[in-house]
Symmetry: C2
Subunit: 156 residues, 2 copies
DNA sequence: GATGAAAAAACCAGACT
DNA sequence: AGTCTGGTTTTTTCATC
């Protein structure tokens, strides 16, 4: 799976196929074929080509965290001491399962992370007993997401 | 598809099934069956149950934005005038395809969004010609993600 | 891209424990 | 309840045009 092939050519049919599969990864190829009006084999070949180009980065089942009791999402900006290297901090953050995203950002913070917790108490625990305990983390700023109102991939 | 059924019971087999499908939504049920050691029909039934419980929020093909030329990701904190309502702002932000996430957050900003652009010039355009043009947006703070080092769902 | 055939998987109904 | 065993339908996959 290559990942940096520049200028992958995508025509209108490819876009239609991808739009179907981005919405539902398990949609049968033949069903898409009937919708678009070409054969299933053609779609199959296009998918092989798109996969080889590195455009397709896999597929995922999406689970609803709320049903599992995870209702508190937050972004946390982290200030690191000069002595603390970014890769080491990322490694340690990666060991905290509540950390879903980690970005090395410009601006005030060294790192911006997204965490998902069951409730505010859980979030407090993750902040005080997990993140703040990491050596090199000097300060944090927390922004709780009261509602996630948009969540999507890029439009193709 | 219910979405708020509290206390959905998940046993070890359910977890194994979900872990397979969260990593690859198109993995054949029979293949999972062989891995776990139960019949395909049993897995099929469990998936129906999990779907009915609202835990399964669908599946998605993941495309690699880099291959499409989108290499600049950023978080933007937005300050809204008192006169601007959150829902209206969200509606207008939703019309900007580069906006992938939108959170209503506690803290300094009214809204925190994630945007994905082709390059810095594109990001500048989205900031100045799209977001800043929205009536009620008084100020923004931008944090460019130099590298996304973790990206995952909650662990089950 | 399309077609047709073989292999695999999904799906369903009834029996089992 | 939850799971299994067949049997049918559908989909995937491959070779060929």
């Amino acid at each position: 799976m290559k990942s940096n092939s520049k200028s992958v050519k995508i025509d209108g049919i490819d876009k239609k196929i991808l739009r179907f599969l981005m919405a539902d990864a398990r949609k049968p190829v033949l069903e898409i074929a009937r919708n678009i009006g070409i054969s299933g084999a053609a779609i199959h070949q296009r998918l092989r080509k798109l996969e080889a180009s590195g455009l397709l980065a896999g597929s995922k089942f999406i689970i609803n965290p709320k049903v599992m009791g995870y209702t508190t999402m937050a972004y946390i900006g982290i200030y690191l001491d000069k002595a603390m290297s970014n890769p080491k901090a990322v490694k340690l953050l990666g060991e905290i399962p509540e950390v879903l995203e980690c970005h090395y950002t410009t601006g005030n913070w060294s790192i911006l992370i997204k965490v998902l917790c069951k409730d505010n108490e859980h979030l407090m625990h993750v902040l005080n007993k997990e993140i703040q305990q990491i050596e090199g983390v000097s300060r944090t700023e927390t922004f709780i997401s009261l509602a996630q109102q948009i969540d999507r991939q890029i439009t193709i």
